[in-house]
Structures are given as structure tokens and as C-alpha cells.
Symmetry: D2
Subunit: 337 residues, 4 copies
């Protein structure tokens, strides 16, 4: 937040305003200008009542700083953030490959797929236990039973597990059970959930909302980070546009944009973005070429019988081919799998 | 859900499939066709495992019925739903007018505005206690203290109060404190929250998500209704488009669309849709003309000092003018205030 | 275009720059400022080579003026523009009602419909002779033969005729034959066509492009006006969004926006916006309530047999009902039909 | 167009309908079915008056064939189309690289840039002579003088030239002067222009409209092809969405979609899509990785002084780096430059 002072405000008046804000736990620095001075305010700016500040006769106006995010910004943190999960590092030279079924359906299914994707080179297992479905009559996931099955798959394969959370009431359980907590596109601005996730010490995979701008995604990351949890992985998964050929429109421009604006790692989910299994491989290659830190892909051993999103899942053999072809692109761009 | 049977499936086979589904609490009716028969399945269709059904050799395919909503559909409920709140009825001949500040800021503010909007003819007081803000550094609302101030304003004026909920953990408190629980655009697909709201006996004002289709809005209503709470009021508040002149694009076509598809009442929020105070009156008139059951308008006694959304708030005197002009439009369309 | 001069630029240097620009047919006025002066440049600004201007050591930067339109702007023309066509005035107290079939199909059809809409109170007859169809295999219109039939319908009924132009090569013929030349949404940024229409003396009905902003619509109007033709009528007809229930999303906020920014009349086409005949009446009422100067509606005597867009056409009896109901709304907002 | 006949229509009746359609220059084939027969109609289907056909008592209904395009469809032309221009082939194993300034500004500028991009490996020179600008006051291009300068640059370097056409009246001149005629995004549905381009023998580079679907792009290609010109190159250049970080949102999913639906070559223009020079290289790499046949890139020797779109232009040295890095990606995906 920046306070614009009126021209020729006397120094003692400036000091008075500064102290008043500091009393409310804000940090204030004076930026002298040619014609008028500014106050740069950080810290507990939510304590700042705009009307109180502007009621001072020496204040011209109060403006929000250009970016609503600070901790997520590269301005204050020029190096890429590296997030360690088990023996993997997300955001570094090695690509992060998260694969698995849309939803956990049975012990055999999840363990079977986990073994297959591990053999192909995946570093993480994904699987939905709680499913955000548009209709209340669609399959809602195996819920906590699904989490247990994921844990078994982790034990069998050693793959860290990624699963989606849907409510503040599940935060403790997820923090204990999974290795990366996924926040889905529909909850990207579920701010109470983000605040709770800011209080724990567990990486969060934050998916971009269907109609959220790049800046809003970074603001939602800031909600988590400002609570104390700096392990946020972003995920581009398509935005809603007028085009109906694909389910959503994958916005790969978001990758260089986020790399410029933020130090956080960002991966791409081509499965949800397109909703079409045969588009997953070419878009995965494009994601690596454009500079993403990894991909998240739906793999199902029997897509036709999948309880949800079968149309966008590739089979293990397709995943093998995909891994080979992205490895080549990765090589061409100095990354490795 | 509809099961398409293969041509020439023998009757005893059809009966076998039917019984199997009924054993899982589904209701099944046979629709005989010229070339092949169909099974119409209702009830606990979430118990239906698609793979199990399609594994039967006589099943051609399983298709989701066209609408993901049933309870919200006018097909099964041709009369308009009327929702009684205090001595007001929402969805009938009288327009529902909800007015008040974006956020509760102080006792004086909320009681002052409550009196003003009541004098102008508003039937309900709105005021945000919990604020969903894009940036974690923006004012987050007075939270539970704000709810207390709203209750005082209700006591002073008799106006029922409307306020936004943001998390499952607040459901009990809101059910007790407010008269209509608002679910904001960003939480329209916070399905865990919707499920909890389905369990209580309190009207819910469900705002359309920024990038949600009309069908998705009705599906979210269905989440609440399928839990047992049939008092859902819908609210059109603008969708996200490429146009930047207004904050969002108010989709007034949604009103006749929803009136055709559903029996639920629907109101319009021109303040959030446009983000511009001078657009509120003309769009409020258009909303009434197009057939909305009411409007929700932001009124602030001092928009310049408002802690949020001041730019879109009208003053009490502007609200008076607005009420006069919508009364005329209402008269022209056989509604009254 | 505004040139920002560096602080303390000597007056003789300013005069030198000014003369240099004036030599290239630009009009230059000096706007003195506290710290530095500005040059406001109008006229043939396309002659201004930015690099040449900025190469002068006294020039800080060159900025495009905030609005790309001047003649269309209310800033320079505060009164509403009134456009006379026959004995009708567009943009005044009387609503402009344009009605007729999507396309001219036969002599009987167009004359029959013309009589019907006239009896119901329409002031203008519309009918497409040239049809911009997405597929080359769809009916392309009766072309010049259609124009002849429209002229017969005008002779029979006295209604001025409105028809869509599709190419620069048709400008002379349209200028002679029709009373208002319509530019369709797909040609809103066919700048060569706009330039040609700027050279003639005939009102132009300019429809907003499917993905054009309000500002871009006004810039396209400016193309026509800057050529010398100031009789431009704007038309909101829906923008392309993610919603698929309606063909496009009618943006009624555009009406007050354009009324604020421009002095040009603006009408609304609810038929093309929604693509659904049963939505035409409620949205026509909303259009009048929000302040539009009129509406353009598709009316067909036999929508099921219409050669295009039958689904969005209303029948003459429906048009009668529509006229009655918008008359009431018009009365409530001090307009008349 | 397909005519669905009623069950048990006698053969002689079918023949009668068939002959009637053939008399209107349509080609009709009978597709016998189990329960009823179909008529597949091609050729001059615009002569088919739907009402006349459906008025026959034996006709159930008339449906448009699923795709509005036939000649552009891969269904009827499974091999990729290869377009020869000079000694280059577009659509084959070699990537097509088109580079040059947004607009031709002077002889020195265009020849200088042409030499630079040729040295870096570009196969074609682009340069705008006619510029479609949103505002009438922006630089409109050097027009025919610009075409002359492009021809000089071609003579100097041997590079074939690509330039944008804006009106039907320019078709003959462009057909003579340039090697590939570009149709810009704003004219993608300027159907009269497309029809004229269908009559000549010169490759057309057709850019996707800002709010056009993939299907609409193919339909516009069909307009050109159905006129007799089968040399159409498609170009994805970003669609309009709510995101404002980039000028448009590059839709790379369109590449595999079009490769599946059509045999036509498709290239990507990352400069116009993003409007940001530093995004051009990563998105060019992604375009190659996803399977595009080439790229079109804006290169300017002095972007700061460019008369338009300087912000999105890279310098020759940046273009050299880009060429090196896409060569690597091309190698990883079995393409070459």
C-alpha cells in the first residue's frame, strides 16, 4: 500500500502519520519525491483503515501497490524456489512428472497404475479421493477410504502422493496423509481454505481457476505464503473460453509470464485442459518446450471404465510413449526427467 | 441416467439388470423402443458403477440424462417456488429488494444505512462480515463481530439480514444468525460447502460463478436441494468476458433462461456486475424488465470511504431515485415493490 | 496524439517542433503545464513518424490519446446525435423499431412481412439480401435481386429499408438503394469498407463485433465519421462468451456505457444476440429499460421455413405482443414508440 | 446436406426427389439404411431450398452435414497438403519460417531486415503494406508503395514475400505482386474477400479470427477452397479471452485439433498472440513441439522506433537465438528448418 502525501507536507506531519501506522503493526518507509513524498506500507496492511488514513488533511490518496502479491513475486526473491518432496526436487533441472488416475477406484486399480507410471519414470502418483463434480449425482470419490488406498500405493511403490482437498475440515488429515495437497481450480479462490493451508508445513499444488487471471493465481498463492507456508507449486490447467473443441483452452503463455513474475515452480496439466486423451502428448511436449517445471497427467489402466474423465486419460502404454517424447524435448531445452 | 440396451435384448435379461440396479436403491423404469429399449434410472444413481453396468453384454452404453439437475428443474416442479423470509415472500409478485453496504464497517455505519434503505423501501439488509478478497492484504471483513453488528441493525429496523458465508466451519453460526445465507461467486462450486448448506433449514442466496454456465449454476443449486434444503434463491451477478469497461458482463439473458429451466427465484446484482455506481440504476431497471424477481444493490452512506467496492456503491439518495424508477418499470410489467 | 515535452524546454524549441508537425498537415496546440508542457496533435496524425518526433532531444515521449475516437466522443459533442431517415428520427424521444426477416426470400414473403410489421408499428423494414454465412454451402442470400424486392416492399409500405453490405464494391449500389446501410458484426473491423462508407451520405448501422470491446466499436464508428459521414447508428447484438445456452451474450451494460462515452444512437438486436425466439420479448423490454434508442427484431411469417435463423425469428403475432409490452416499458422510462 | 427420408418411402418417390435436386445442379447419392434411406447432397447445395425439400411428404427432415467444410477436411483428403512457393514446401518436413517487420516503413528498413532474417535462416519475408488498425488515426501502412518496397526486398534477397490484403479491390494486385496473400484475423469472416481469393491461383495465409472457433476457421478456408483455390495455409495467432497479461491467448491446442480435422498446413504467430517480445521465443518453441508446420515472427531492426507493434517485435539478434533454439526442438520432433 502506498500513501500519496500532498505537496509540501511538513516533515513532522509525515512522522506523525508514519508512527500512527506503525502502532498498528505496519512497516512504513518514506520515499522522498521531487514534488511530494510517498509512504510505502507493508506488514499488517489489513489493519489500515483507508478512511482513517485519508481523513488526514495531508494525505492526497491511498493506492494499492501494483501487485497484490509480494512473497510470490520474483522482485523480492530472484532465485527459483526449489521444493523438496522425498528425494525429488520440484522447480529445478529435473522435470516433475505427476501421473495417475482421475479418481481412486479400488486397491488393485491404484496400486496397479502406480506401478505402471513408476516404471515409465513418473516421480509422483496422483489420484482423487474427493472429487469436485459439477452434478451432485456424479461419483463423488471414495473420500477417506480413497486416501487410505493412496497410502498403500505409496508404500508399494515409494512414490509420493498428490491428492485434492475440498474443505477446511480436511486440512489436518491431508497434511498427515499426502505428500502434496492439491487445491483444485474451483477452489482457487476458496480463501478460507487457502488460509488454513498457509498454517501447515506441506507443499500445496495450486491449480489456476477456470476464469482466473495469472495475477489472481499469484494472489491466491500469496494467501498460502502469507500464512507461513512457502511451498506452493502452481499449475496451469486451461481457462474457460468460447472454444468448445477442447474442454478448456490451455494457456501456455502463462508459463513464461509466471516465470517472469514469480519464483514459484509451475507445472502443466494437459489432461484436464483439453479433455481429450489424444491431445495430451503434443501439449505435454509444448509445456516442456515453453519452460514448465513438469506435467501432471491422467493415466488409467482402463479409460473406458474410468469412473470419471475417462475420455481424457491415456493408457500406461501411451504414457510410456509420452515420456519418451518429452524426454527428447527436455533434452533440447536442457532439462531432464 | 439412461441405459441404452442392445437391440433384441431378451425381456428376462432386462428384468435382471433392472433388479440389480434396484438392489442398489435406484428406481428403474423400462422405456420400450421400436428397435431397442431404454432404462431410465433415478434415485441413488451415484451408487451406479458405470463399469459394472456396461460390463453386461446386453448394454450398449450408459448416458447421463441431459440435465444434471432434477429438483431444481421446472420439469418436475412447474410452479414458481416461493420462499418466505419473515413477512416477505421471494419469488412472487412482489419484488425482492436487498440493499446495504459491501462490508459491515461499524455499528453506526450499518445501522445508519439499514435505516436509510428501509425508508426507501428495501425489504432486506445486506452486509459483508467475511469478505472474499483477491489479495490477502485487502480488508478481510469484521468477521463474527460484523455478524453481531448486522443483528443489531436487524433489531433496530426489522429488516431480515443477508450475509456471505465462506467456509463449512461457519455453517452453524450463519444458520443461527442470518436470515439468508449468501454463497459468493467464488464459492459457487465449493461443493463441500454446498453439501453442508443442504443440511440446514435456512434460505441460501447462490450467486453465479464468474465463469459458470447457467446449467452449472442450477447444478450447484441441486447440490443444496438434494441435501434437503429447497430454499435456494439464485443470483446473476455478471460473468467474466473480454470486455474491460465493466468489471464483469451482466448476462440478463440468464433470467429468462433460468425462468424456463427452473422454478427457483432469481435476482440480479447490478453493483458487482458492473463495478460502476452510475450503471446500477439502468441495469436494475433492465433486470426488472427482463423478469428478475428482485435486485441486490450496494448502498453506502459514504462510498469514498467504503472499505471495499466504493466505486460501485450508490448513496442513499441515489437508491431512492433507483427505487422510484424501478417501481415504474415494475408497474409496466405487472410486478410491485 | 500527445507529445510530452521535457521539463524546461525553451519556448523557441517548442515552436520549432510545432511548426515541423504543422508542415505535415497536423494541427498542434500547446498545453502549458506546471512542470512541463504538452503538445496536442490532431489532424493527419498518421503522418507523424513517432521516431522523428522522439528523436528531438526535448521530447520525453509520445502517447496516443486515451480514446482512439474523437468525433464519436461525447466529450466534443455533448448533445445526442439525431439521425433523420424519411419522417423518422433516430436517437430522439421516439424509439426506433426495425423489423423484418433475416433474409429476403421472395416478393410475397418480403412484402407480406413488411405489411405486417408496419401494422404492428415498426418504423423500418430489415431484410438481408447478402448473407454472411459461416459455411460457403449455406444460403448466401438473393443478392442484388433481394435488394430489388426490398425496394418493392418499401414502395408498397412506405417503410425505409435496412440491409447489410458485405464489400467495398457494393457501396455505390447500397447508397442508392437502401435507406440505412447495415455493417454486420463480422465486418465491424473491415476497415476498407468503413473508409468507403465514410465517403457517402447515407446512415450506417454499425453492429458490434462478436469479440469487440465497446471502445473498438466506437473506433470503428470513428473510421466512418472521420471520412465525413457522421450518420452512424450503433447496434449491440451480443458478444461471444463461454456460455452456450444463448448463441451470444447480450451485453446490455454497453448501452449506458456508450451513452456516456458517445453521442451516437444505439439500438439492440435481441434476435441475433440470443438465437432463441422466446427470449426476444423479455430482452427487448430490458433493452428499452436500460436506455437503448430502439430495437432490431427478426420477424418471419413462417419461421420453420425460413432460409436462415428461423429459430430466432418471432411471428407477426408475437411481434404485436412484443410491441405492446415494450410500449409499456417505454412509457415507464419516458420514451414512446 | 443430408435428407432423411421417412421409413418405407417407395423407390420411385426417392428417384423423383433425387432428380429434382439434380436438376438444380446438385449431386445426389442414395444411402440405403435399415429402417429408412438417406440422400447425401453435394455440389450447389445453396440452390436447395429447405422448405421445398421438406414440403415433400416423404421427407422426414433435412440436416446440415456435421462439418460445414468438406474440401478442408481430412476425411476426404487424408494426406497432408503440401504447398510449393518458390523452392520451399509448406506443410512438409521442413519448417516454414516467415519473418519480418509488422509494417514496411522504408526501403532501407525492409531490405535491411530481409537480409538479416535470411541470414538467420528465414524462408519468407513478411511485411505489412496495408495495416488494419483499430483507430483511424493510427499509421495505416504505406499501401501500394509498401508493396513495391517488398518486391525490391524480394529481388535483393530471393525471399518470397507475404503481405496482408484488406479488400476485394486489391485481389488482382496482390495476386500479381506477393507470393503468399495474408488474410488477417479481422477479415477471417470477410466472406466476399474469401470468395474472390478462391478464384485466383496464389497461396493464401488465413489467420484465425480473435473470437473464431477452430471449426469456423476451417469453414473460412472452405470458402477459398470451394472457389477453386486449394492452397490455404492456416495460422493460429491467439484468441480473445479474459486474460489481459498477454494481448491474446495463444491456443496451441488448435494445432493438434486442426491436424486431426484437416490436411491443411498450420503455422503459429507468437508475436501477435502475446504482444510481448520476450514471450516470442518460448512460445515459438512450444509451437514447434506441439506440431505446427512453422512460425511467423515479427522482427524489427529497431523495435522502439517501429511504427506499429514495436513491443512485440524481436531484434535480428534475438531472432538468431530463436532460430537456434527452435532448431533443437525441431530436431527432437523430427522436423528440420
Amino acid at each position: 500500500m502506498v500513501v500519496v502525501l500532498k505537496p509540501k507536507t511538513p516533515n513532522d506531519e509525515i512522522e506523525k502519520i508514519k508512527r500512527k501506522l506503525e502502532d498498528k503493526s505496519m512497516t512504513v518507509s518514506i520515499i522522498p519525491g521531487k514534488d511530494y513524498d510517498l509512504l510505502n506500507i507493508s506488514g499488517e496492511t489489513s489493519n489500515a483503515k483507508t478512511e482513517e488514513i485519508t481523513s488526514n488533511a495531508c494525505v492526497e490518496k491511498v493506492i494499492e501497490t501494483q501487485q497484490g502479491y509480494k512473497l510470490a513475486s520474483r522482485l523480492l526473491h530472484s532465485d527459483n524456489t526449489l521444493i523438496k518432496v522425498g528425494n525429488k526436487v520440484i522447480g529445478g533441472d529435473e522435470l516433475t512428472i505427476i501421473a495417475g488416475p482421475c479418481s481412486v477406484e479400488s486397491k488393485e486399480q491404484i496400486i496397479g497404475i502406480a506401478k505402471e507410471v513408476k516404471n515409465c519414470g513418473a516421480g509422483f502418483l496422483r489420484g482423487g479421493a474427493f472429487k469436485p463434480r459439477t452434478s451432485p449425482y456424479s461419483f463423488q470419490g471414495m473420500r477417506f477410504e480413497g486416501l487410505e488406498l493412496l497410502k498403500m500405493a505409496r508404500e508399494e511403490t515409494g512414490l509420493p502422493i498428490v491428492s485434492e482437498i475440498m474443505s477446511t475440515s480436511m486440512v489436518n488429515r491431508f497434511a498427515e496423509d499426502v505428500d502434496i495437497i492439491q487445491v483444485g481450480a474451483r477452489n482457487m479462490q476458496n480463501f478460507e481454505l487457502l488460509k488454513e493451508l498457509g498454517k501447515i508445513d506441506k507443499p500445496v499444488l495450486l491449480k489456476r481457476g477456470l476464469s482466473s487471471t495469472i495475477e489472481e493465481l499469484l494472489m491466491s498463492a500469496e494467501y498460502i505464503m502469507s500464512g507461513g507456508n512457502s511451498s506452493v507449486i502452481l499449475c496451469e490447467r486451461g481457462i474457460r473460453t468460447f472454444e468448445t473443441y477442447t474442454r478448456n483452452t490451455l494457456d501456455l503463455s502463462a508459463i513464461p509470464a509466471i516465470k517472469r513474475q514469480s519464483h514459484l515452480p509451475i507445472i502443466v496439466d494437459p489432461s484436464h485442459a483439453t479433455g481429450l486423451w489424444w491431445m495430451v502428448e503434443p501439449l505435454a511436449k509444448a509445456a516442456i518446450a515453453v519452460g514448465a517445471d513438469g506435467i501432471m497427467v491422467e493415466v488409467h489402466n482402463n479409460p473406458k471404465l474410468a469412473k470419471c474423465d475417462g475420455q481424457q486419460s491415456i493408457k500406461p502404454e501411451g504414457f510410456k510413449t509420452l515420456m519418451d517424447s518429452i524426454a527428447k524435448v527436455a533434452g533440447a531445452t536442457r532439462k531432464m526427467i
